[in-house]
Subunit: 349 residues, 2 copies
């Protein structure tokens, strides 16, 4: 596509897609949000016959040094245990991806444990977990670059295999702390707002909550001056899996890849990716409104209207998996429904 014409072409395509939807055999607008998703799919894939299949859920797993502060209800070793559970097919994201007719790819981008025995896991460990963000930068520059590259490669690999739509998910005990800090910094809140972005994660008790809030508030205070440098915020506060997701998002537009954002943690990666390159936003669909506090603020900042509101707060990619059939339905409306003219149905006019 000629770059000088691309924005005109895109606007023409978007308007053709809207016309096509308006002429399908249904009252205008009566399929609600599925219609706007259908138009977005057409725009991403630059066709009036968008497709979602094959679809894939990609889960990036990594550990977090900040867990030594006591910010999680579950012990840090659960990351490696859950990665094994993913490999064995027993986790929520496994059964939900399967039920949604999507393949599942699990990537070790930085788990603090040996997962090399699992052939079902893509072995791309950058390092055994981040440094404790409460005491300094979570990643070195080299680690950040490597993690971003792992994410980029996942999208290139998916595109090479014909995948049209990826749901992005994560596993990493402690990562709601990173997501809270990134959300706080990038949604332009000051450190006083730490309580508004710090939730219970996997189920933190009343006793543990003040610890997590203190860690988030102190990190926000330390990093406040960096809030216009999303990449540095990511290096300081992020997890390796969050960095990989940012890399995946940055790579998606070049492959016309539809990206479904899972929940709070993946949305925090979207904040980073969209501030680095705003065009990424066009490729993103949002799976759900998480029960985790802080997600609403991140969604508002991204002007995102999620597909589901089921009170889910698991992560992994579980909500992204559940959103795939809705996105598939939206594609089917655009690609397969008859127009009034084709079906010989009278319009309301």
């Amino acid at each position: 596509m000629n770059s000088s014409n691309s924005s005109t072409d895109l606007s023409t395509l978007k308007s053709s897609a809207q016309d096509a939807i308006d002429n399908k055999t249904k009252p205008p607008g009566s399929l609600g949000q599925l219609e706007s998703v259908a138009v977005q799919l057409a725009t991403i894939q630059r066709t009036l016959k968008p497709v979602v299949d094959p679809a894939r859920v990609i889960v990036f797993g990594a550990d977090h040094g900040v867990t030594e502060e006591g910010v999680s209800a579950f012990p840090a070793e659960v990351t490696v245990q859950m990665m094994a559970n993913f490999a064995a097919g027993g986790a929520a994201v496994c059964v939900l991806s399967k039920s949604a007719n999507a393949s599942l790819e699990v990537i070790d981008v930085g788990v603090n444990g040996d997962l090399s025995e699992f052939s079902a896991i893509v072995q791309q460990k950058v390092t055994r977990g981040t440094a404790n963000l409460a005491k300094g930068a979570a990643m070195t520059h080299e680690q950040l670059d490597s993690a971003l590259q792992v994410g980029r490669e996942a999208i290139v690999r998916a595109a090479d295999q014909g995948v049209q739509c990826v749901g992005l998910g994560e596993m990493g005990i402690g990562n709601t702390t990173s997501a809270a800090i990134l959300t706080g910094l990038l949604c332009a809140q000051n450190a006083d707002a730490a309580a508004d972005v710090t939730g219970r994660g996997t189920g933190l008790s009343d006793e543990q909550m003040p610890v997590k809030q203190r860690v988030v508030a102190e990190a926000m205070q330390r990093l406040e001056s960096l809030s216009d440098d999303p990449m540095e915020c990511l290096r300081q506060a992020g997890g390796l899996e969050i960095a990989a997701i940012v890399g995946a998002m940055l790579e998606a537009p070049a492959h016309s890849m539809v990206v479904i954002v899972d929940g709070f943690i993946v949305t925090s990666a979207a904040l980073v990716a969209c501030q680095i390159r705003p065009a990424v936003r066009d490729n993103l669909l949002f799976a759900h409104r998480s029960a985790e506090i802080g997600h609403a603020l991140a969604l508002d900042t991204l002007n995102a209207e999620p597909l589901l509101q089921l009170g889910m707060r698991l992560g992994e990619g579980s909500a992204a998996a559940m959103a795939i059939p809705l996105v598939r339905g939206a594609a089917a409306i655009m690609s397969d429904m008859a127009s009034f003219a084709e079906a010989g149905v009278s319009t309301g006019e």
Copy 2:
């Protein structure tokens, strides 16, 4: 099952199902509404390994004499045209059922036109549309009985063919008027509340709305004294397709059939069915919160929490189709996820 023990058994089963969900490898409650749906599925099917497949969407089509009052944005002949569109596979419910991996059954229970050429349509026409409810009873007693029977037979047929879950949908120009009257009567509103249950249906103009509101208000006034007789309300105000859906719902429990309620019109049938036999409610899941005014009141009355909120207002069974993959996901959680013990994952305790 011994009837004297059945309520105890049911409560034991429900509690076992809740225990099973709580021991899956995820923080308790973190899959939100999918968890309560999973427990409901287990309870309906009386097993800790519930299944949704094969799933089917059933669309009942019929015409409405009340259209001669001018209550719809679309002309009455659109019902027969859309039934043909269903048979040809071009309508929203066709492509959405297919994308949701559900079969589709379309039943003519009372369309005012000849659909006999379409082998894809189940031919069970009771009569060519209802009488005009603005002038008297919409159906005779015999017509009502026949329409109820058509719905019952659809569930028996589905059960015989191994179907585990049905989404119920409808097609009938004018049927939001019937649904509004039924909702108004059965949610214990007086005729003054007609405006609160009367929506724009397929897209009624500002000029046409007062006509529809007057028709609804006058019918509610005429039938107010019958509001404790849901079957007579149905005969007076209902459509043949709404009666068939009531019949289907009444039949569902005997076959442990999971029923997904589509939108406003199918929910009005649920009001009738659940007032006739409260146990029907246990088998019902609700697909979505329709944009049609009046649906919220009906959902509240049924204590129903729908799965989707996408601003849809098409009917047909389109939202029921989109809800099937979510219900499938809920079944997969219960049936296929590993427990903490099975997976060797540490709990948060």
